[in-house]
Symmetry: C2
Subunit: 123 residues, 2 copies
């Protein structure tokens, strides 16, 4: 028999820290595009227009802004080769590896939730 979320009892301040941590995480990787971009980078897509083609529905403006955010948060490195024409590469950093557990947990849960919805649809 488990309690619902089975977090150990916490003091209020410990609990708030946990909550804030979850909030921070969602702030950084939440939203419509962040994780999709991270995964696209990880798959080896590194050029701006390539990323835009890979990620359906994203506009240049939004992609540009999201890439800046991701760079600020240390998820990618923007590397400019000063050739003609100029070539810019976006490369995932080792820091993206730290998202492994988060991505796995979200992916698993998402699939399970999908399955549940499918079953309810069949009722």
């Amino acid at each position: 028999m488990e309690t619902y979320l089975e977090l150990e009892p916490l003091t209020t301040s410990q609990c708030n820290n946990k909550l804030n941590a979850v909030g921070d995480a969602l702030y950084v990787i939440g939203g419509k595009w962040k994780l999709r971009i991270i995964i696209a980078l990880k798959e080896g897509h590194s050029r701006f227009n390539e990323l835009q083609r890979t990620i359906p529905g994203i506009s240049a403006k939004v992609l540009s802004q999201e890439l800046k955010d991701l760079e600020l948060n240390g998820f990618l490195e923007r590397r400019v080769h000063a050739d003609t024409p100029v070539v810019v590469e976006y490369l995932p950093t080792a820091y993206t590896a730290t998202l492994k557990n988060v991505l796995e947990a979200l992916s698993e849960w998402g699939e399970m939730h999908r399955q549940k919805l499918r079953e309810e649809g069949n009722k």
Copy 2:
């Protein structure tokens, strides 16, 4: 030596399924308030105004809408006691337990990320 996200090689369609699953998950539990509300419910806060007091910054309108979403997605049960005055309780369902891994992963990652930002701030 690990690849960055260490997902096993996938076919394109398998990969897209994973991606969609992550997207689904973020759609359902993403956003500013969803997880905070779920955790507040899990802590035993069950009344509307109590929840609003517990969750700093949320308005009645937004709380109302989010509670409806969460009910639709099976995370809570809305129980009305037809007394005078009327008492309404929002209770987490067993389904919230399935978020355990997600919450733990997000919480851990969020704390780690905070620590990293703190260190960078000290440079």
